[in-house]
Amino acid sequence: MNKFAMTLAAGLLGLGTAAMAEVKVGMIVTLSGPPAALGQQAVDGFKLAMDDLDGKLGGHDATLIVEDDELKPEVALSKANSLVESAEADFVVGTIFSNMLQAVFRPVTESETFLISPNAGPSTFAGRNCNPYFFVTSYQNNQNAEVMGAHAQAAGYKKVFMIAPNYQAGRDNMEGFRMHYEGEIVDEVYVPLGHQDYSAEIARIATSDADAVFAFTPGGMGVRFVRQFRDSGLADKVQFMSVFTTDETTLPAQKEAAEGFLAAGNWAPDTATDASKAFVAAFEAKYGYVPGGYAMQAYDAAMLINSAVEAVGGDLSDKDAVRAALEAADFTSLRGDFSFNTNHYPVQDFYQLSVAEREDGAWVTSVGEKIFDDYGDSFAEECSM
């Protein structure tokens, strides 16, 4: 209401769009607990983009308000309300985790504020419940697993053992892997979230005569699983494939234990576009660690907002115009090709990645074969928007 009054006053005074002094972006990511490293990457990625734009978005002064959802739905909800109601944010960028996204989704989109997810891309909002105010700069959650499955199929692995934590994303990723993989799934095992000791699961893998294992064990779970897997000697016999398990947030702790392990994704720090190279160099110089996909996707989210604000000349009151500008995705994505599907999830290329040591001794994922070109998700057809 206040915003409306402000716009109205500005209009009456004839100041027009020039009065839109500031673009306000609110960010809700997880900055508490073990997964805080992921949220930190997103914050740093977004901030770097704003630095590159001299603190402006679309040529207008911009402010960024960062909020921590503490990985608690009720906190996420109250922070979302704070951003759209008190701070009157024009864009909300968040979240890292799908369950947090569910908590903030209705309050943000129903206040007609654009919600841009730099990571979480659940199927829930990709199909029937797609929303004109919701955009995703990462992927649909299952896609990396779909890519990994397609690679496993192409590489000819006959028997795959799957392991994931016992929650929805775990099941989604296992489902995703099956999409293009036609060999035998010898077993699928679900461990509790935050699982510590994988020796029981590793013993099952060893006795299952699988020739490859597919894992979705994000964060600290991945650090433990990868190191324990390596220690068990199984890595020589069973190919390790995973998603969200060996990435730039976990590799500093996994190091050589993850050498040669396969992953899948839309980008890696050695992606050979000029924009990406410059981004990685600047990021490492500023923050002192290697950026992962979380940072890249947040950077792209900032550039997306930048392009949209510029396209509408700073007039953010016309929601339809802003939406059209966002849908156009008229910015240079660090990953290369990027456009939005009808459900506002990306259409992009996916690669098989592998873990290797960089010349400077840092452990990173490295881009391998391109698995899919201009790949969209399968839920978009259910979206009528």
Partner: protein, 308 residues
């Protein structure tokens, strides 16, 4: 389900049990002897793991890191005792819960501020960097054997201390009848300080030993604390023997349960439902075990105190 796999899982269960015992031992002493609910015990485990990480970074040697971490963990426990806990011994349990909850929040956050939020790792000592072959293709790291041995040694030493020494006698007496002990002129404050410092050091030791197997991260002790409480309640508060038996029991039930429940359910229902329900039931098992034990023996398996 092959016999080999079951045997391997029993070994894994024992190893989990030993780590649980290392954490639960200190907790049960503090709780049994002083009647003190120390929620911060899990965070002392985390402190041990971070000390190992820091010590390894400074010295480059796991053994040196361990030797540095132990006195520091002890010191940490004594500082906490001096600043916070000693003022709460004669207070109700819930004030203790409130204060130690505050300690958890503070130390978890401090770990994040100092070391960052990401998971860290510590390599095992080099002389233990080899493996045994369990079956073709599956190795068992020597370090894990070392953890089991260390746990058993600690159990043995604790047992000797408690049954053979004067301090041990006082601890036993304190667990059974604290009022009588102080009436007999024993310096209970000093006894408490010893028990507390020792308990903190044990938790720190568990943290150091766990660091090369698990990852080091803020809040790593929170869930283990709950499991450690389950252990000491099953075993009977204040009883080292109880903690030992219960820790192994919980380790075995948890490890074997995760393997067997889903497989068992697959015999009676389709695979996807079994995968759905199995893990949930497996996670509940140790709580069901505790509820059953409490139902039949409200004082736990080896109650140290006749009546609480």
């Amino acid at each position: 389900m092959s016999t080999t796999l079951i045997l391997i899982q029993i070994l894994n269960g024992l190893q989990l049990g030993v780590i649980l015992f290392l954490i639960a031992a200190g907790l049960t002493l503090v709780f049994g002897v002083m009647g003190f609910i120390n929620l911060a015990h899990g965070v002392q485990y985390m402190v041990g793991a971070y000390l190992a990480y820091w010590g390894y970074g400074v010295t480059g040697s796991f053994v040196l890191a361990l030797l540095m971490a132990l006195p520091l963990a002890l010191l940490m426990g004594l500082v906490l005792e001096f600043l916070v806990f000693r003022h709460l011994y004669d207070r109700d349990h819930l004030s203790q819960v409130l204060a130690t909850f505050g300690v958890i929040l503070f130390l978890n956050q401090l770990a994040k501020v100092i070391f960052g939020p990401a998971s860290l790792s510590v390599p095992p000592p080099e002389f233990l960097d080899f493996s045994f072959t369990l079956i073709d293709g599956l190795l068992y790291p020597a370090y894990r054997i070392a953890v089991i041995v260390a746990g058993l040694l600690v159990a043995l030493i604790l047992w000797l201390v408690i049954t053979r020494t004067r301090v041990g006698m006082l601890i036993r007496a304190g667990a059974t009848n604290p009022d009588m002990v102080s009436a007999l002129g024993v310096n209970v404050r000093q006894l408490f300080l010893i028990v507390f410092g020792f308990g903190a050091m044990l938790a720190g030791f568990a943290g150091v030993m766990a660091a090369p197997i698990f990852s080091v991260e803020p809040g790593m002790g929170d869930n283990l604390l709950i499991v450690a409480f389950v252990v000491i309640i099953i075993g009977g508060a204040g009883s080292i023997r109880g903690a030992f038996v219960a820790a192994l029991l919980v380790g075995l039930v948890d490890t074997l349960g995760r393997t067997l429940v889903t497989d068992g359910l697959r015999l009676v229902m389709d695979a996807s439902s079994a995968n759905q329900i199995g893990p949930a039931i497996a996670s509940m098992l140790i709580y069901v075990l505790m509820a059953l034990v409490l139902f039949w023996r409200p004082e736990g398996l080896f109650a140290a105190r006749a009546a609480r």
